[in-house]
């Protein structure tokens, strides 16, 4: 009945943050036996989903266009630097037009479902599907049709990124302090993201990393570097022991 766009308010209703979500949650997975060709991988960066804003006193997300623009810029620079260090080449996809745009939209949607499934049914150990219970199993694919995305780019892999930051507002922090006095835990801020690498020849998901509490202020170049190192934790070919995953800033 003639709705307007509905801004979600549900989060704000839960005042008490849940204690410890999924203590045994894994954060990343890599396809067994997968080795990224050394110093020659051409990686197509799919338009990343990046949202940055504040968290209101009541817990609502307040999107901020300036912060998001800064974060996009900073993360792109940090990502290119990180991959260059690994010897990989990052290709930025042109915005597709016509039927290619539909294909791209399809695969972006498919990837978000895929990543969600991996997080839910593989990384969350207690909730594993029977086929995902074997040790070191990491078998997920988007199908070989995904090769269409690479047409004309010469890329071998596609990198998908999702990043959402909600910085606790002053009001939220004050609320948190008062709530603490009443022995109620209120979470201020939220910093989550995931990144995945897909083999464009087979469509297989070769690596996925999801972190629901990351550090690094994406609004600054230095913070974005730290964030990228966390987003790319255990990236194939990197032997980095990533920056300690500190709790949300």
């Amino acid at each position: 009945m003639l709705l307007r766009l509905w801004v979600p308010i549900l989060a704000s209703v839960c005042l008490v943050a849940s204690g410890s979500p999924a203590t045994a949650q894994e954060k990343s997975g890599i396809k067994p036996g997968f080795v990224l060709p050394q110093r020659s991988a051409r990686i197509l960066l799919i338009r990343p989903t990046i949202k940055v804003g504040a968290q209101s006193t009541g817990g609502m997300f307040e999107p901020n266009a300036d912060w998001t623009a800064q974060a996009k810029e900073n993360l792109a620079v940090a990502l290119a630097a990180a991959q260059t260090k690994l010897g990989n080449e990052i290709l930025i996809a042109d915005e597709p037009i016509g039927p290619a745009a539909t294909t791209m939209a399809d695969y972006r949607a498919l990837f978000s479902v895929l990543a969600d499934s991996v997080i839910r049914y593989q990384f969350f150990v207690g909730n594993r599907l029977p086929t995902k219970k074997r040790k070191d199993a990491f078998e997920w694919t988007m199908g070989p049709g995904v090769a269409d995305l690479a047409k004309g780019t010469g890329a071998d892999y596609a990198l998908f990124l999702f990043n959402e930051d909600q910085y606790g507002s002053t009001g939220r922090k004050i609320l948190q302090a008062f709530a603490a006095m009443a022995y109620v835990s209120v979470k201020s801020g939220e910093h989550k993201g995931f990144a995945g690498l897909v083999d464009l020849h087979t469509g297989d998901l070769v690596w996925l990393n999801a972190d629901l509490a990351m550090g690094g202020d994406v609004r600054t170049p230095d913070g974005a570097q730290k964030r990228v190192s966390q987003l790319l934790k255990n990236f194939p070919g990197s032997s980095q022991s990533a920056a300690p995953a500190s709790a949300a800033k």
Binding site: L3, V13, S56, N64, T68, F178, V184
Partner: protein, 400 residues
């Protein structure tokens, strides 16, 4: 404290609104300046989010890709709200059989196919699109966002107050907790009350657009009348209690449908204006799409509601496509008596449109399930008329 005042003010508006609505003259059309850009942090943030959503929707397969239909809808918006205004919206027709349309703060207008099936004439469509445009012009998403933020802030503080009282006790603790809960309830309710008020404003502005347009303003209320009747039919079919249209539920985001129908009717009568209904134009624009929309509607598994809708679409004259759809509807329910009715509808459709191969298919399948030996003949005719049908192999196995 400022936030609390906002909530109280919002509640006051809501309480006052029905009283004021009585003799409410229509709002004057806001001044229009082209290519509006979002102002301030909140609005720019919201636009950024929906701009991204719109990119996704634009390339989505859920959107019906038909330039002719799109340009027709654009023309309707232009005829409804006036020429320069209408250029600020992008229209996306989404294949969804439910009756709805929505407007994003950046001018992304989403029209569901269920709306296109249900409007009886162009004036009704224009009224709904005008309502959505009014949300855009009044920047309702932004105002609503701010109101929700204030209300949830109040709720959060009330929650902390209750938790504090609970933790530290004291003589007044019980009363403090009770009061805090009342404040939370009131703040939560204010979000929905505020939304209802925005919908009312959009209705009023839509009527103001209609007044300035060539359309008949009485049509908007007609639409709501049929929406209520269809919902009643659906409820009857599902053995559910029908919705009360004379009451506002706590969580209702829109005014009660009866209330809307009533005030829209009163406004239209007060306007004392007649106009065109543009039915011929709508019919011409939808003729290519109607079979698809009817097929989608039948898949909703809502026999009574769909039967009511088909009857309303037919009015005094059952056309071949509606007869065919009714045949499909009855055949899908599949009681022996339904199959007999379905066969009758298919035959009537074929009388009007002998080239309708799918009617032969439906007729044959209905006859087959009724153990009528004429079934094979009907199906053969279907195969002869449509040799490349996707189900031709399956149908052939039935007539061997």
């Amino acid at each position: 404290m400022r936030a609390l005042w906002k909530v109280l003010a919002a509640m006051a508006i809501v309480v006052a609104a029905p009283l004021a609505a009585k003799g409410d003259p229509l709002p004057t059309l806001p001044p229009y300046a082209g290519a509006y850009q979002p102002q301030g942090m909140d609005e720019r943030g919201l636009w950024m989010m929906v701009d991204e959503d719109e990119r996704r929707l634009r390339d989505s397969k859920a959107v019906v890709s038909d330039p002719k239909l799109q340009s027709y809808l654009h023309d309707v918006v232009c005829r409804a709200v006036g020429a320069p205004r209408c250029d600020s919206v992008r229209i996306y027709v989404v294949r969804n059989a439910a009756f709805n349309a929505s407007m994003a703060p950046n001018g992304m207008l989403v029209v569901q196919t269920g709306l296109l099936l249900r409007v009886r004439n162009e004036a009704e469509l224009a009224a709904v699109l005008g309502h959505e445009f009014a949300h855009f012009e009044l920047r309702h998403s932004l105002v609503g966002f701010k109101q929700k933020r204030s209300a949830t802030d109040v709720m959060a503080w009330a929650g902390v107050a209750a938790a504090g009282a609970y933790t530290y006790g004291g003589t007044g603790a019980y009363n403090t907790v009770r009061t805090a809960q009342s404040v939370q309830n009131a703040a939560f309710g204010s979000i929905f009350a505020f939304s209802r008020e925005q919908e009312r404003q959009a209705d009023l502005l839509s009527m103001a657009y209609l007044k300035a347009s060539s359309y008949d303003p009485r049509c908007f209320a007609d639409l709501w009348g049929r929406v209520m009747d269809e919902a009643d039919a659906t409820a009857r079919g599902r053995r559910q209690r029908s919705t009360r249209y004379d009451r506002v539920a706590f969580f209702a985001t829109h005014p009660a449908t009866l209330e809307r129908a009533t005030y829209l009717r009163e406004l239209a009568i007060a306007m004392d204006k007649s106009g065109e209904d543009g039915r011929a134009r709508l019919d011409a624009a939808m003729v290519a799409w109607r079979p698809q929309l009817l097929a989608d509607q039948i898949k909703l598994n809502d026999f009574e509601g769909t039967d009511y809708l088909l009857g309303e679409l037919a009015g005094a004259q059952w056309t071949a496509d509606l007869l065919f759809a009714r045949g499909e509807l009855y055949r899908s329910r599949g009681n022996p008596r339904d199959l007999v009715s379905a066969a009758g509808f298919y035959r009537a459709a074929l009388e009007q449109e002998p080239s309708n191969a799918d009617a032969y298919r439906g007729l044959g399948l209905a006859q087959m399930r009724s153990r009528d030996p004429a079934a094979a003949d009907s199906l053969r005719r279907y195969l002869a008329m449509k040799p490349n049908a996707v189900d031709s192999a399956m149908i052939s196995t039935l007539i061997q």
